[in-house]
Subunit: 201 residues, 2 copies
């Protein structure tokens, strides 16, 4: 640790934080985890390498902080009320070209940088997946999903459909197209939002 | 074109072909499309760069030929008879650690090397997807899938579930685990292999 750095939270330090995380996000989207280096991040952020290393001891921790900042920490919508809200949220993400590239880079990091993928899952994915699973459990309880549905499987199916959309559909699709895709997948797994909500079955 | 190369199909030439494609496959799995170069492939194959370039004018065409060889051309099982055979085939692929890494690299190439992903889809994916779609159409006609199923959606769901499995399950899983996963997904989309086959409904 150098002694020339200011106390955390002081304005210059916060500016450096934002510049570093912004540069890291850009580079991660442009090149992926493997081809991004602390050196490049420092150069693009206009700070020294030492300034980056004082905050992030290695590239993996820098990239985790970058994803954390990109997705919001705490997560922007920690409470997902129902399937409809989940569809709305995923539609926003999957119709945003920048988010699409970011997510494909996260998938690409699984192979080259498994610690990043694992840390990302531990810090964000697991938490959100639990909230989503509960949404599907409630939908099943309300009769909006077949009684023999497995919320874990529904979550795998919907997440997988997201990867498939990212892999096979153009990044120029509209929100309407994305929503139709997600609703077709949910219909195929038996989700029927129009069903009268009477009770558990 | 050099004049020192032998006619195609002569033993030495076939050996060089195999060495080049084998080296390219190894490097693609180890490093991905972006980090693989013709230079590295030549070195690992024990041939000159010129020998590689005489066969493949650029890296993308080399990698397409590599995938073609890895998956078999013509494809090893061009005819997929029914959903059960499809499950058996995918189970083999998804329980093979090397194939898993290869497929994640193919996904990773979408971002860095879209021509490769597109060419791969045009030459292989499209053809196989059509065969799979027909399998789901027949399953629906036989009452093994709900009457309102969309074969395209079922295919997106199953392919997506494959990406999800590759992203979230360890590469050490057994064929039994993979098959249970695929069957759970198919069950969720309404596939009921045990249903009496009486006719269209």
């Amino acid at each position: 640790m150098g002694t020339d750095d200011r106390a955390p939270g002081r304005p210059r330090s916060k500016e450096a934080d934002a510049a570093i995380l912004g540069a890291a996000l850009e580079l991660f989207i442009e090149r992926g985890a493997e081809a991004t280096s602390i050196e490049q991040v420092a150069r693009r952020a206009g700070v020294t390498r030492a300034t980056v290393y004082r905050r992030f001891p290695d590239k993996t921790r820098l990239l985790i902080a970058t994803l954390e900042a990109a997705y919001g920490n705490p997560p922007r919508s920690p409470r997902i009320v129902d399937v409809e809200q989940l569809v709305a949220g995923w539609t926003l993400v999957l119709s945003d070209p920048r988010q699409r590239r970011l997510l494909r880079r996260v998938y690409g990091a699984i192979e080259d940088n498994p610690e990043l993928a694992r840390a990302y899952h531990d810090q964000f994915g697991r938490h959100r997946d639990q909230a989503r699973r509960e949404v599907f459990e409630r939908a099943r309880a309300r009769g909006l999903l077949p009684a023999d549905s497995d919320p874990d499987v529904v979550l795998d199916v919907l997440t997988g459909a997201g990867w498939q959309h990212l892999a096979t559909r153009p990044d120029t699709g509209t929100a309407d197209e994305v929503e139709r895709f997600l609703r077709a997948v949910l219909h195929q797994v038996g989700y029927r939002p129009g069903r009268p909500v009477e009770g558990d079955q």
